[in-house]
Subunit: 450 residues, 3 copies
């Protein structure tokens, strides 16, 4: 019954093979261990007068790395298992493109940020965190396309997505010197607009043919809650993973924790008020409860105060939940954007809020609140930007937000155009949201009654 | 078919909204970053002569915090998904009340323990751990009421539960100066008796009308195992999270690990021996395997010895499993206490055992075992209690247990009375344990056969 | 309908009880806290001139321990839930034997490695990691027997498995002085051949009678992905948990991370190329994506270079996936080895690859790459083996691999013979892969339609 695309058989294996071999060659040419990971660390230690092995930064970043890692693979993966017949594709293709993306990200980010004098990229644990971050943008974009694209298209989406990410990240963080430790702008805003534009280019007018597969079943909703909760719980680690050691990391955790807590109550309130009989909708609970984490990404290290964080969580979840109720149907009907997971509500809008909050809180930062040294440390007003004031920093933050949006829109249009070529083996409209197109699905799908 | 309570529509949103706004206001008035999380940390560091940012306590508490966080949201949440038609409510309402409870706990515990000279509560990572701990008591109480109360009732239960918790914790830890790092008394005993008393007040004589929904289905039992395992695995972190740095934390991990390991074998033994044909019961495996962790909460830091920990796990699981077999039906029929999750067996009895074990091991602590300084460090025999002996400490530990029980019983009766008012939109007897009362549940609940 | 073995009723409880009591007695006689976990640590600290409690090794090993712990209980446990009617047994018996195994491992490994002058085993967090490692070997062996043995047989398998493990580990790591931080040889190769040989001895010619239960259902495959992902994500922690502090641990993480990333792409490629219509097979995705982690276990600390790690992941997953496609059916038909989870493909072959890779990279290690001190540190060329060269070390690594295989084969034959005795209550051929033999399974297994 499933029309399997004719050229699918050779495409996916070919792409995976060729690209993996390309990775091996590029890593062979470019990637080496950094000083903390090299056996010559002991000599380096002596040179730098480091007294014990335990001052290796590994011990302070690694637990954060593992939390972020869980968010990428279990968090995003299981969040996308909610469809009744696309759970394999949700968690499986997430696994595939994340595993490819982190390799490509190590190279792309390496060329932009970690190139050593000898022309080699030197990697350590912090690079692994950044690669996970980078790939998150593509996984967000996948959310908009979930169930409507082939794995090969996803590989292409990821190849270009990671490339674009590395460039915009370089512009925003290095050239504009904006702060964005949790990636409200560079990850969420960029990723969401990238995915939404692709979805807009790939618009399927006859998608209603697979309408019967677009919902969830009882247990697929419970699976999705695994994703939601691991994202929710580890988000403080996400927003603090590459923050400054010391007070910065500490503050990022507290701010994110509070914003997320406020998001939950608000989401329950709006979800209940919007349905007849006041019933709750699992779609909202699975997604909008996370909006506070997204919106806290830019300002996580700033002195936004605990109640400021609560307000950010409060507002972003109101907007996010209303987005699911009103905007998603409107976008599909009027703007011709089919957004399977509602990433516009979970990543685009809260991401933009996060960027704006970051710009405002940066612009209004003062020595009386931060302390003289604290201000310099928090915003890195050193070297090339030693003379920048908080006010001007606010302007650069805002500029960063526009760069992220622009990269998402333009990049998405470009990549969407490429993905529209009829060579990628994407499923027919009637076979969307159906694992049987790409997966062996055993007969007798349900547990038998006895 | 579902009688939706008429006044439900406005209640939940109103409560969530108003309370979240109240939180924002109270946080605005009272809560600030502590020194380790403030940008002025760099000045503080210089004053205190701390050489690197890496000596910020963040790095030593944060991994423990994350483990505890997972226990609260995934552990408790998924443990309560075992019912065939109440998985949304199990994991979803757990999410709601935990997210509310941690905010309220930061305030309540802050007022009692962390109030600075300027009248502000100064928070850091340790407060986040304590807030998670505090909310655990309410989640335990939820276990007794699972499926029989409305979300608004749960919010009320949590509001009062956290308040009572903060008071009894203050009395037990500060006034009585009892030790309870893993909360056998302050968390488990209190939470369980609080929940059981509420359930007793809210007794439903006609609950058998929803008997067909009280069991599990195959996959809901597997979901519940996610909760069980994350609780079981991270329990050593729970019992050591706020223990003393150094040997105390170390010992708490070993003791808890061993008690839990013994619990598993014992539970399998009793479960198998009690059923006809020697078959195992998932209810026992999901719950009684955790009894050792509960029972190790008070004495986790003490020199109870490795084999002592095994004995504690061994005994508590025997009692817990037998509780599920004999006591739960007896309590329902004779005492009119309907205990959905069997928290009497998993938290009340093992919690009391934990309190008793703590009292006995404290009373029998000696300088020959602990060393002179070790004894002082372990029991904090300093300042106001510098002259206390181990023997007397044992008495205070026992007193702490009584305080916990008393707070549970009296508080539960009080709050139960409030929750009995006919204004909370609780489900009819025939609609208990049914997600359809509070959640949009899609038609076609099962994966289709093709 | 299920033939329940007659003598099953008393066996499991008796074994669990007697063995748990034996553990208590043995722990009472032999096990004590080590210096870092004892209240006398403060005196020890002063003696050793350690300035703060935070230099307690606890803080640097504990997060690794928790990751490994999750792999053992959730990773292995959920990976084995894939069968449609044996999910309880998969996760439940995994829980039982792991909880027993870690206790016995603490004793066995303690006697071989941690015996103090006073005849006591002194335990700390590192022992807990090692106990988890040790039990992993038995859980791998369980994979071959999944669904075909009784819980009592599993307890026996674990008792002997842990014993054999402790001996071969002692020979390989202490006597041969081979390096194997992630256990390609001592854990995976040994565990796999141990399990396969047992499965060969217990060959069931009429197993096709339960053929209808050998597959998965849709949601059981999603449950298994939880296991896969937690294993995949935390494998860098596994291979680095007991590696040298400093650069060694750092390098182990990077190498494992990269090998695993390459494994994913390769597995998708081979899985797709091998099926008609290019469809993907969940069995491959659940298992062969992990082959890179297994194959990286021995050489994880070596200077294998980042691209070397990618090549290891690439090759091991090709072999592993082809193993599932061709070897497993061949082994069942021709060699009479029934391997339920395909551990030959996930653990035996990648484990052997790991051992060979370790031997080759060790043999080719040079001072120009490692630095003089780096070479000594990485291979511990100190004390008794101070004069060993990298070349010779390669030979000892290869010898270690043979020891692991030999222990697996001989031990498996022996224990298989014991398990063949008709006293263990194993299920009839027609009842294999069926939870109803050992578990109370509620009627009405599926979520009702309404």
């Amino acid at each position: 019954p499933c029309r399997v695309p004719v050229n699918h058989k050779c495409n996916l294996p070919a792409v995976c093979f060729v690209w993996q071999i390309a990775m091996i060659i590029l890593f062979g040419v470019f990637v080496r261990y950094n000083e903390e990971s090299d056996t010559r660390w002991i000599e380096h230690r002596r040179r730098k007068n480091i007294s014990t092995n335990l001052e290796n930064d590994f011990y302070y970043r690694y637990p954060s790395f593992q939390d972020v890692h869980v968010m990428i693979f279990v968090g995003f993966g299981f969040l996308m298992t909610f469809l009744k017949r696309y759970s394999f594709g949700g968690v499986g293709f997430n696994f595939l493109i994340a595993a490819f993306g982190i390799q490509w990200a190590l190279l792309m980010q390496g060329w932009f940020h970690y190139l050593d004098d000898d022309g080699k990229i030197k990697i350590g644990v912090e690079n692994l965190i950044n690669a996970d971050f980078c790939v998150a943008g593509c996984l967000i974009a996948y959310g908009a396309c979930l169930g409507k694209v082939s794995p090969v298209q996803l590989m292409v989406l990821t190849l270009f997505g990671v490339t674009l990410f590395a460039v915009e990240e370089y512009i925003i963080l290095e050239l504009l010197h904006a702060k964005d430790p949790g990636g409200s702008m560079v990850i969420h805003t960029f990723g969401a607009y990238y995915g939404l534009t692709i979805s807009w280019v790939l618009y399927r007018p006859m998608l209603s043919q697979s309408k019967h597969l677009q919902g969830s079943v009882y247990h697929s909703d419970v699976f999705a809650m695994i994703g939601t909760l691991f994202l929710w719980m580890y988000w403080p680690s996400f927003n603090s993973a590459i923050a400054d050691h010391g007070d910065g990391q500490h503050r990022a955790v507290i701010n994110t924790y509070l914003a997320l807590a406020a998001s939950v109550l608000t989401t329950f309130a709006i979800s209940s008020i919007s349905q007849k009989h006041g019933k709750l909708d699992m779609v909202h609970i699975q997604n909008a409860t996370l909006a506070g984490g997204v919106a806290m990404g830019t300002a996580s290290e700033f002195m936004i105060t605990p109640y400021g964080s609560l307000i950010v969580g409060f507002c972003s979840s109101i907007i996010s939940t209303f987005g699911y109720i009103f905007l998603t149907p409107f976008m599909e009907k009027t703007l011709k954007i089919q957004d399977t997971c509602g990433i516009h509500n979970l990543h685009a809008m809260p991401g933009v809020i996060g960027g704006i909050v970051g710009a405002i809180t940066a612009a209004s930062a003062s020595e009386s609140v931060y302390g003289q040294e604290g201000l310099i440390n928090t915003f890195d007003f050193k070297e090339a930007v030693a003379n920048r004031t908080a006010n001007i920093q606010g302007g650069y933050q805002a500029a960063g937000l526009f760069v992220a949006i622009a990269f998402g829109l333009v990049g998405g249009a470009l990549v969407g155009g490429i993905l529209k070529l009829p060579i990628w083996g994407d499923p027919a409209d009637a076979n969307c949201f159906d694992d049987e197109v790409y997966w062996e699905v055993r007969k007798g799908l349900q547990t038998e009654t006895r």
